[in-house]
Amino acid sequence: MLAWWIAGLIIAWFTSGRRLRRASRKAQKENAIMLLDDRTEHGKSG
């Protein structure tokens, strides 16, 4: 069970993490603010 959870974490870094990092770099470059509510699953559900 925990092994699957760890595997899920690693996959998340390469999938949703990649999108987040890209958006984060873009926001930094453009001197803008990346809104976490829109970008993460937690934000969407909360």
């Binding site: 959870w5 603010i33 993460t40 909360g46």
Partner: protein
């Protein structure tokens, strides 16, 4: 009024400017933490969750985790993996403990042998548990493990962040081993490493590992604040340690090193009322944003004068001597 040396801060550490934020701000972490509350109550989880439930600041935590460099992220994930051994079956034959002091000394020796820097034992109190948690064990063994001071001088960089997660791994391994040993003696024991299920700081203070500093972390004589904590909760009979007074308040009341060096301006110069107790408190909302920006920050811990290796014992002795020599020394509050 304190004039902050912002020029110095700007040079040393990244500024507290953020390229991330919330459209709809979550409930303030200070409100969740009970800042200003006069009534005693248990803490509520705000940020570092175990994943068991949705926390108010989960979106920021997700962002923090997923924007970490992969090596650090992987180390964190592997740390969680190690914690699978936190609990396990208890030996059927229970060792009869006739001398709790000897058992405490044996377990401390085992922890030191496994690499622990300091070990203390205390009763598991309500202030170490979050709301909704059961108090399943009567006693806590708290273990401290120092971080490499030179490496940690690079706080806010990957190098320092990696040292922190590696220290968490190592201290977790010690408590896992300790808990396994206790279970082999026929007593229940569960290790708590870098998990969000236990507040290690109040336990460490009660176990005599140090006192609360104005930066919200424990300051101990040997390592200052430059260490990480983990604990074992158990029901094996053990002799308890007592809280210590090493003079932390005497220094923190006058020292402004961490308050000035904190780019987020999150550290208060005076004690505040938090859940019915007046104590040092760090502004969660300010701290957490900078924490996320800088891979876990740690500036306050590393700039603290106590953290310099070898300085703690001398500093403590000097502060206590000065206090004793003051005419009003009997009236001074003790922690």
């Amino acid at each position: 009024m304190t004039v902050r040396n912002t020029a110095k801060v700007a040079k040393r550490f990244p500024p507290a400017l953020y390229h991330f934020g919330y459209r709809k701000a979550p409930l303030s972490g200070n409100v969740i933490n009970g800042l200003g509350d006069r009534q005693k109550r248990r803490a509520r989880q705000v940020f570092h969750g175990s994943g068991a439930r949705e926390l108010e600041w989960s979106a920021l935590e997700t962002f923090f985790g997923l924007t970490m460099p992969f090596a650090i992220y992987l180390r964190n994930a592997l740390n969680r993996w190690e914690l699978r051994k936190s609990d396990g079956p208890v030996a059927r034959t229970r060792l009869n403990v006739t001398d709790p002091a000897k058992m405490a000394a044996d377990l401390k020796s085992l922890a030191h042998h496994a690499g622990a820097g300091a070990v203390g034992i205390t009763t598991l109190t309500d202030n170490a548990l979050f709301q909704g948690q059961q108090r399943d064990y009567p006693t806590a063994i708290v273990v401290a493990l120092a971080q490499d001071y030179e490496t940690m001088q690079a706080v806010t960089t990957r190098k320092a962040a990696m040292e922190t997660v590696t220290t968490y791994r190592d201290v977790s391994r010690i408590v896992i081993r300790l808990a396994a040993h206790i279970r082999s003696l026929g007593w229940r024991a569960r290790a708590y490493g870098e998990s969000a299920d236990l507040l290690h700081i109040p336990l460490a203070i009660n176990a005599g590992l140090g006192q609360l500093g104005k930066h919200g972390s424990v300051i101990g004589t040997k390592f200052g604040s430059n260490f990480r904590l983990a604990s074992v909760l158990t029901d094996i009979p053990l002799a308890l340690d007592r809280p210590v007074d090493i003079g932390v308040d005497d220094l923190c009341l006058g020292c402004q090193r961490c308050t000035l060096d904190c780019p987020a301006d999150a550290i208060s110069d005076s004690k505040l009322m938090v859940r019915g107790e007046k104590k040092w408190y760090v502004d969660f909302d300010k701290c957490v944003m900078y924490f996320v920006k800088t891979l876990g920050c740690g500036i306050c811990i590393e700039v603290c004068p106590w953290s310099r290796p070898g300085r703690g014992p001398t500093l403590s002795a000097t502060l206590l001597r000065k206090r004793a020599s003051r005419p009003d020394s009997a009236d001074r509050p003790k922690m």
